[in-house]
């Protein structure tokens, strides 16, 4: 089981390493409307639905579990003004998420952590989301 988890992390890491290639970016934009190197099926319309459901706004804090390279967490922070806390395990996804967060001047934190072991205090955040990672 542990080996399977590491294989999965490696598989996603390999995907993130090529996500910036123009052909991969073109496919992503034309499939979901994201340009974050996303590996989920969440479209831009669906991300906007999350913003509404979660009542995201400036001053509120969002947790995106299994955030990968930042879709939709960083997008939601940019479009709503909320702060974002991103967690995932593949290192390349986290590196890209951090870079994107800085580029987009989004307020937030990127942390390497499994979804079941979140390094956060109790009752710390205002909303939580994830895209195609929950079990």
């Amino acid at each position: 089981m542990v080996n399977e988890s590491w294989d999965l992390i490696d598989e996603f890491d390999a995907r993130y390493r090529i996500a910036g290639e123009s052909v991969v970016r073109h496919i992503e934009v034309n499939t979901t409307g994201s340009d974050y190197g996303a590996s989920s099926y969440t479209t831009r319309d669906q991300a906007d639905r999350l913003a509404s459901l979660l009542a995201l706004a400036p001053g509120r804090t969002l947790l995106d579990v299994g955030s990968g390279a930042g879709w939709p967490g960083i997008y939601l922070a940019r479009t709503t003004g909320c702060d974002v806390f991103l967690t995932d395990l593949p290192p390349e996804g986290l590196r890209q998420a951090h870079r994107r967060m800085v580029d987009e001047k989004v307020r937030g934190v990127v942390v390497a952590a499994a979804g079941a072991e979140l390094p956060l205090c109790d009752e710390a955040l205002d909303a939580a989301t994830s895209s195609d990672v929950l079990c």
Binding site: T31, Y41, A116, L125
Partner: protein
């Protein structure tokens, strides 16, 4: 993971997520096909309603977004096919062929009613 989310959320805070899962009420063989064809962790056991209740959430709602999932998946296959030459240069022919076959198998499972995608929302009481 759901319990961890509940712990870190404030009182009355919302949780909303998209998830692909094997549909309810299938035969063992269909479940196996769904697990093989779907993304990792597609087997949600008792389903997200019971899992969220067990984790201490309330106000649970599930909205079926399987049609949108099928559209996105179909579009992904089609766009990749149209960019096949460049993708093969990038990842190699074997990996391209394998990934397209995996996507087609996933789409078949969606069309057969085996895989579904939901927008799940709940509140931390």
């Amino acid at each position: 993971m759901l319990r961890a989310c509940r712990r870190v959320l404030k009182k009355d805070a919302p949780l909303a997520f998209f998830v692909v899962a094997v549909a309810d009420g299938l035969s063992a063989r269909q479940i196996e096909r769904g697990i093989e064809a779907g993304p990792p962790h597609a087997d949600a056991g008792p389903g997200y309603g019971p899992l969220l209740r067990e984790a201490g959430f309330s106000g649970i709602e599930l909205v079926d977004v399987t049609d949108e999932y099928a559209d996105t998946l179909a579009k992904s296959i089609q766009v990749r096919e149209s960019e096949a030459n460049q993708l093969v240069d990038l990842i190699g022919e074997d990996m391209f062929t394998e990934s397209q076959a995996r996507r087609r198998s996933e789409l078949d499972a969606v069309h057969s009613g085996i895989l579904q995608r939901h927008l799940v929302s709940a509140v931390r009481p």
